[in-house]
């Protein structure tokens, strides 16, 4: 039986991970699982811990277990997040060669490659997946970041044929929807709202998703409420802070320390990087014009 199906024992941990409920993932009791699923469950636990910033612990813990490709991929990913990029990328490159049919290797490998900016290679790795929704979702995201909406739509509609009710497919569809716009905004909103309002999957992550959809729908006030809820759950969530900044700007409010908070929470957040870039771009562009100052 597919361990991720609605009856499968990994469903809970899978959904928790993708809703951003990392502590739930870590607290999940993996001992009762059937042996076939233990590795997969552990991979989720490790990835949740990496997401919570415990990458070095994970590396230490996995020492000596790197003969399992899944765990080796986790280690490489952890190293990459820790900043040891060169070693990690080499490790990943090796894994991608040797264990290209391993789902964990595919997903984590593609993640690292994408972060390295090697999108096409990442997509090639993902293309080898066999029924891994995570791989599909990742591919969709990479396609979207390449602005290839058409291909992203294709990925989603293919996946929908064999896994309609999966959380990840719904999410990937919403990502695409937020690019398509129009009615799809509303549908994306429904997906996120459903997650964000259900007690089992309400996290800063899902709330931010809901808020983003509402923002695109032009429902500024509702979006603000959702973001506030997100910030209540995780006060320094960089994405919540970033979107709050965007929201405040759209509604014409003065920045009330949001920029500062974001700089503190995640100085490398794309919004900040982007703004700094644009700020200097502005100065460069403005300098091309000469002003004759009057007497």
């Amino acid at each position: 039986m597919d361990p991720f199906s609605s009856e499968g024992e990994l469903l809970t941990i899978h959904n928790a991970f993708h809703s951003g409920l990392y502590s739930t993932v870590i607290d999940t009791d993996t001992s009762a699982l059937s042996p076939a699923n233990v590795i997969a469950a552990r991979v989720y636990v490790f990835r949740a811990r990496i997401a919570l910033g415990q990458a070095s612990d994970v590396i230490a813990e996995l020492e000596g277990e790197n003969d399992v490709p899944d765990l080796a991929a986790v280690t490489a990913f952890a190293e990459y997040t820790e900043g040891e990029k060169v070693a990690a990328v080499t490790a990943i490159e090796g894994l991608v060669e040797s264990a290209s049919d391993n789902a964990t290797v595919q997903v984590l490998g593609a993640t690292v490659l994408q972060r390295e900016g090697r999108s096409d290679e990442a997509l090639a790795v993902l293309a080898k997946h066999q029924g891994s929704l995570e791989a599909v979702a990742l591919a969709v995201q990479i396609r979207l970041s390449q602005n290839r909406l058409d291909l992203a739509i294709k990925e989603v509609s293919t996946a929908k044929r064999w896994a309609q009710d999966s959380l990840l497919v719904n999410l990937a569809e919403s990502w695409v929807g937020l690019r398509v716009g129009g009615e799809k905004y509303q549908q994306a909103y429904y997906v996120y709202e459903e997650l964000a309002q259900a007690p089992g999957s309400s996290t800063a992550r899902t709330l931010v998703g809901q808020a983003v959809a509402e923002l695109h729908l032009g429902r500024i006030e509702e979006a603000e409420v959702a973001l506030q809820q997100a910030l209540q759950k995780t006060p320094a969530d960089p994405d919540a802070l970033a979107n709050m900044l965007v929201l405040e700007t759209i509604s014409g409010k003065e920045d009330a320390g949001g920029m500062e908070a974001l700089r503190k929470a995640d100085p490398a957040h794309p919004l900040l990087v982007d703004l700094d870039e644009k700020s200097s771009l502005f100065d460069r562009a403005a300098a091309k014009y000469t002003v004759k100052v009057g007497a």
Binding site: S6, F17, H18, G20, R47, A51, T81, R115, S119, D120, A137, L138, Q141, L144, N147, R148, D150, L151, Q164, D165, L171, R179, V180, G181, G182, E183, Q187, Y190, V191, E194, Q197, A198, P199, G200, V208, G209, V212, L215, H216, G218, L245, V246, T249, I250, G252, H269, P270, L271, L275, K278, S279, F282, D283, A285, A286, Y289, T290, K292, V293, G294
Partner: protein, 1215 residues
């Protein structure tokens, strides 16, 4: 019979006669045991018993309007009763055998009776006489009824016939004599066929034969010419009649024992009959087929009656009566945001919009859903798919999933439906719904194609399921409610609430109301109980106010409950309704005919209570100020809740005010009220309260009022008020109150007085001892002498040191010594106007250093601000050509549309599309394409200095993208925020631009005006310049908005110029060598087109300055202009004075360059006139004019654009 709903059952002996009260929830039941019972079937209580008949009572009837009823029994008697006085008023004797039925006429004071003596009789109950006896039946007449409108009677007899009688003769005879003409009489005498006794009052019109056995019951159709009869041949026969004849239409066969009674359904095409075979049967009037039948185990039915108004029936059987409905009257409906979808009586789906208060035409017809006589039970709406789920109880429960058509185009049959069996069906997610099956106790989760994705076995026996928040269901069992997570298939929470029938979610989805028959339980979305309340009357429906107040309806009231359980009645209801929405003072509901209705309510009480609970003092204050919230209930509520100080605000009655004031320690009010009432008891209580607060001045007053001298003295003693204590001593003397004198003397340490007093009352030994104790030997001697006593005769106690009176250390009496904080509550302060934030008026603006008298203008300027945009623009801006751009930006070509579907490579980002799609600079900024944006601005308005625009650039750019966390480990997905929310065509999408025209007009422009008003000119220039910098990068939707934007740019420009002139003038105002320039600038200040009040300010300042500097002609000129604008008020008076004074003098001291008669503009750089005809250059953006020498320089107004630059005009609109 699946949908017959029993509402009430009584247990008694055999019930033979039944009558519904037309208005009240009462039913009369006449029993075989001679008793007549009066029941309240709503409450299920026996109201009264009437026992005067001897033997069985077979017929009863209520009068329609009078508090009367009539009964007839086996004692041959007809009795008329008053249910008010609970007595039999009189008895009509005449029948010679059992009386079978009695009925009142619907308008005439008549009673119709049928009897085993084979007659039918009509009685006048007003004069208590028999007016007609109808003979003809030759066996017992079992039933006789009046026609509901015409002058007809129908009767049934064991002689197997049904007869229709014409009683128009009787009516004529008994109506007022004037209405009968001679001709009438003649006609009557000649034409009416007299019966064999020569009786023309009532004649047989038709004899209907068809029953093979005796006929037990007969009745007319309420509107159609139809008759229904029931007989011992077990048949129910339908007859039709015309003017001239009557015939049998059909027979309803089915009863397998004697059929005892039958009637037509008052509103639907149905026939109901009962029989000794223990069944109630429902027949289709048009097809004469059986629709439903209901069987009792042991009881034969004898009689059936219908309520005249409401959809209720009653049937009498061997062991009592049952009151029932044939169908649920609750319409199926679902509320979504501002819409309700419901199914009306024609089984059409309709919607109603709460915003516009309009009902849609029918959207769908559900005629084919379920069986024709069974209305749908529930409706669930899915806004994402615009689909509905409808359930019907037919065939053990069915559901249908139907997509609503896009627009309501009439009652079309649905084309695309999916159905299945189930007792309840609700949407649980956008693309999922749950179907619950009672018999198997399973819940199937289905997708929109109706295939089951998951099947859940209920954890316990469940009656019904409801939406339980996203991904959850609420399962209602007879004793508990369970919150069930569908995804995880587990019970999240459980709450013991019995018999929950409906669940109503609050608008924010945080709370739900669980409605049982008699209970409302409010729970959180996690199913934690918040509050619960009990109602004796059945609860029908509920809806949430936006503020979180639950309004619910019972059979006859609308009530409310707050989350904390506080509740109350809002209004009474004439008929049962199902609440759907509350908005302000309107309650929207559906009535039992499934028609939307709007009821008015007064929400003040619950809003007030809500505000109290939430401590929303502002709102409370508003309510206190603006509404007449009075009444004992609110006062006692406030008292109970510990807010006597608020209650105090509502009360006028001095006694209550006093009580409340004491309770909240408000001495001021208490004193006032005590003075008004002036009762000793109140003074006493006031004194005690004042004492506990340490307010001894009030205490003193109360003691004075109460004349409690001893307490007063003690008060003076403890507060150290020696003067008053002395006075008390004097008063005591005056009153010859020796005890008081003694007391005061002790307090004062006044030994002499004490001795004197003792002497006066002949207590010489005491006087002696006192004197001795204080060492007053001389006094001792004199006492002994005066009294003739010797020292031996006086028993002396051991004498210690004499007491000395306490010294006053703190002069407490001078000031109150507060013991308890009795601060004024917020409300009191607010009501006294002490809280600043509550005052609605603006603080007057600070007048500036030059004191231009600005504050006089404040109100006026406020008045004008709102109308600013209505002022017509006179000037036609030159640089506003809305023609095509020659930037070639529209030439986006078609290659984009056919993006080749390669599997690799990078596409074009949405931001790039924006830049392609728009010739507007702001859109390019949002797209991050700053270079092209600058190019555009440069070409459109000659922008060269972009530095001031940087914040605006970054602001727009920052608003353009959102960050969606997607796959773990990767950076968030960037999405692009559009202003074209509904657009999906990549060639038409455009970005959102923050701070639109609306916000500029309502916020920033007004800020600028306030700065002008408040004389903050530097700030004002900044604000207006900011307006210009915002507008240079903005987008609008329509031509009219383009005009508006133009107008705002012009306004901001004028203000910046005006303010700059005045600022320049102030810079040299104190320089005496610059008088001329000073005066000129003051004059120019009046030139720009400002709002009227601001123009007046400028004129006023110029006038004063000119007058000061003795430029009288000029001053007079300004004065005239002021007066021309406004000839009233202080400013005008002032102007008039100056004008008069100036005209007397009539000369200018300084000649300045200001020609009041010439047309000129002001150069925005040099602040000198540009006379009409002189050459000038314009700024392409602001339109400000300059002397030609400034060409090519930076515009002083915008500080962005180049004066006189070639420009095509600012574009703000995409198409």
């Amino acid at each position: 019979m699946q949908s017959m709903l029993t509402k009430f059952e009584s247990k008694s002996s055999r019930a033979k006669g039944i009558a519904f009260h037309p208005k009240r929830p009462w039913i009369l039941v006449s029993l075989h045991t001679s008793t007549i019972q009066l029941w309240d079937y709503r409450m299920g209580t026996l109201i009264d018993r009437f026992e005067e008949h001897d033997g069985p009572v077979r017929g009863v009837d209520f009068h329609r309007t009078q508090p009367l009823f009539v009964s007839g029994g086996d004692d041959y008697k007809i009795k008329v009763w008053s249910y008010q006085t609970r007595r039999c008023l009189f008895t009509l004797n005449g029948h010679l055998d059992y009386v079978r039925t009695v009925f009142f006429h619907h308008e005439l004071p008549w009673i119709l009776s049928s009897s085993d003596d084979q007659t039918i009789r009509i009685w006048n109950w007003q004069n208590r006489s028999l007016i007609c006896t109808m003979t003809g039946h030759n066996h017992y007449t079992m039933c006789a009824q009046f026609h509901p409108k015409e002058d007809l009677v129908v009767s049934a007899s064991l002689d197997q016939s049904v007869r229709v009688w014409d009683i128009s003769g009787l009516r004529k005879k008994h109506s007022a004599p004037t209405s009968m003409t001679f001709e009438d009489q003649m006609a009557r005498a000649n034409n009416n066929q007299a019966d064999m006794f020569g009786n023309t009052d009532a004649v047989v019109k038709f004899v209907l034969e068809g029953h093979d056995r005796g006929v037990n019951w007969v009745s007319f159709h309420p509107t159609l010419p139809l008759i229904i009869s029931a007989g011992d041949d077990r048949n129910v026969k339908l007859w039709r009649m015309s003017e001239t004849k009557a015939w049998e239409v059909d027979t309803c066969r089915g009863h397998f024992q004697n059929s005892s009674a039958c009637l037509f359904h008052p509103h639907q095409d149905l026939i109901l009959s009962v029989g000794e075979d223990k069944t109630i049967r429902v027949w289709d009037l048009n097809k004469r087929t059986s629709v439903q039948s209901f069987k009792r185990e042991n009881d034969r039915f004898w009689v059936i009656a219908a309520h005249p108004e409401i959809n209720l029936f009653a049937a009498g059987h061997d062991n009592g009566v049952m009151v029932f409905k044939l169908e649920r009257e609750r319409p199926a409906y679902a509320v979504y945001q501002n819409q309700i979808f419901f199914i009306n009586k024609e089984k059409h789906v309709r919607s109603y919009d709460f915003n516009t208060n309009t009902e849609s035409p029918s959207i769908l017809s559900l005629k084919k859903l379920g069986s024709p006589w069974v209305p749908p039970r529930t409706l669930s709406y899915n806004p994402a798919e615009r689909a509905i789920l409808v359930t019907s109880p037919t065939d053990g429960g069915t559901y249908e999933l139907i997509n609503l058509p896009k627009d309501a185009s009439g009652a079309v049959e649905p084309t695309d439906t999916r159905r299945g069996t189930g007792n309840a069906a609700v949407f649980v997610a956008r693309n999922r719904f749950a179907v619950f099956n009672v018999s198997t106790q399973t819940i199937d989760i289905k997708d929109l194609s109706n295939s089951t994705t998951k099947s859940i076995k209920t954890p316990t026996t469940v009656n019904d399921v409801y939406f339980g928040g996203t991904g959850c269901l609420l399962l209602c069992s007879p004793t508990v409610v369970i919150l069930y997570d569908i995804q995880q298939k587990k019970t999240i929470a459980e709450l013991a609430v019995a018999g929950v029938k409906y669940v109503v979610w609050s608008n924010d989805g945080l709370h739900a109301a669980l409605l049982s028959k008699h209970n409302v339980t409010i729970v959180t979305k996690a199913l934690e109980q918040v509050s619960s309340l009990h109602e004796t009357i059945r609860i029908k429906s509920a809806t949430w106010d936006d503020a979180g107040v639950l309004l619910y309806s019972t059979l006859n009231h609308i009530k409310y409950t707050l989350l904390n359980g506080d509740n109350g009645i809002i209004r009474t209801l004439d008929e049962t309704v199902y609440l759907t929405k509350v908005k302000g003072r309107n309650v929207y509901c559906l009535d039992r005919q499934a028609k939307p209705k709007v009821l008015n309510i007064d929400p003040t009480e619950y809003r007030f209570k809500m505000a109290l609970v939430k401590r929303n003092y502002d709102e409370m204050l508003q309510i206190i100020k603006n509404s007449n919230l009075v009444g004992q209930s609110i006062i006692s509520y406030l008292q109970k809740k510990g807010y006597p100080e608020i209650a105090l605000q509502f009360v006028q009655d001095p006694q209550t005010r006093f009580e409340l004031a004491i309770e909240c320690g408000n001495l001021e009010v208490a004193v006032e009220m005590a003075k008004e009432l002036d009762r000793p008891k109140l003074w006493g209580r006031l004194g005690a309260e004042a004492l506990s607060q340490g307010n001894h001045q009030v205490v003193e007053m109360t003691y004075q009022k109460l004349r409690s001298f001893d307490k007063l003295s003690f008060l003076y003693l403890v507060t150290g008020d020696k003067d008053k204590l002395n006075r008390m001593a004097k008063i005591a003397q005056h009153r010859s109150d020796y005890t008081a004198m003694f007391q005061n003397a002790i307090y004062l340490g006044d030994v002499e007085t004490r001795i004197q007093m003792f002497k006066e009352i002949d207590l010489y030994p005491l006087a002696y001892v006192t004197a001795k104790a204080h060492g007053l030997t001389e006094e001792c001697e004199s006492i002994l002498e005066a009294s003739g006593l010797t020292e031996d005769q006086i028993k002396l106690p051991t004498i210690g040191a004499p007491i000395t009176p306490a010294r006053t250390i703190v002069p407490t009496y001078q000031k109150n010594w507060p013991l308890r904080v009795a601060s004024q509550s917020f409300y009191e302060k607010a009501l006294l106007g002490q809280v600043e934030s509550m005052t609605l008026e603006d603080q007057p603006a600070d007048s500036g250093p030059s004191n231009l008298g600005f504050e006089d203008e404040v109100d006026e300027s406020k008045k004008f601000n709102g109308n600013l945009m209505d002022v017509d623009t006179e000037e036609d801006g030159g640089g506003w050509d809305m023609g095509d751009e020659d930037l070639g930006l529209e030439e986006h070509g078609d290659e984009f549309v056919n993006v080749e579907s390669e599997t690799a490579g990078v596409g074009m980002s949405e931001a790039e599309l924006w830049a392609r799609n728009s010739p507007i600079a702001a859109d390019h900024v949002a797209a991050g394409s700053f270079e092209t944006a600058m190019q555009l601005l440069n070409r459109q308005v000659g922008a060269v200095n972009f530095k001031p625009l940087k914040p605006r650039f970054l602001e727009i750019y920052q608003a353009s993208k959102t960050y969606l966390p997607a796959s773990a480990g990767l950076s968030p997905l960037v999405n692009y925020v559009r202003r074209t929310v509904d657009e999906t065509d990549p060639r038409k999408i455009l970005p959102v631009i923050p701070r639109d025209l609306e916000s500029i007009r309502t916020v920033e422009l007004q800020k600028g005006f306030s700065a002008m008003k408040a004389n903050n000119l530097e700030e004002g220039v900044e604000i207006f310049r900011n307006v210009l910098h915002t507008l240079i990068l903005t987008t609008v939707q329509s031509k009219s908005e383009v005009e508006e934007a133009k107008k705002i740019i012009q306004t901001a420009t004028e203000y910046i110029i005006a303010m700059s002139i005045e600022l320049e003038r102030r810079g040299l105002a104190n320089d005496d060598s610059q008088v001329k320039r000073n005066l000129e600038l003051a004059s120019y200040f009046t030139k720009p087109t400002l709002e009227l009040p601001h123009r007046q300010i400028a004129l006023m300042s110029a006038m004063k300055l000119a007058y000061q500097k003795k430029n009288h002609v000029l001053a007079a000129h300004f004065a005239s202009r002021i007066l021309a604008n406004n000839s009233q008020g202080k400013g005008a008076d002032n102007a008039r004075k100056i004008k008069a004074a100036s005209e007397r003098s009539g000369s200018d001291a300084v000649e300045i360059e200001y020609d009041q008669f010439a047309e000129f503009d002001i150069c925005a750089a040099s602040f000198t006139p540009i006379y009409s005809g002189q050459p000038f250059v314009k700024d392409p953006f602001t339109g400000a004019k300059y002397h030609p020498k400034f060409k090519g320089e930076l515009c002083r107004v915008s500080q962005v654009t180049e004066i006189g630059a070639p420009a095509s005009g600012l574009r703000l609109m995409a198409q």
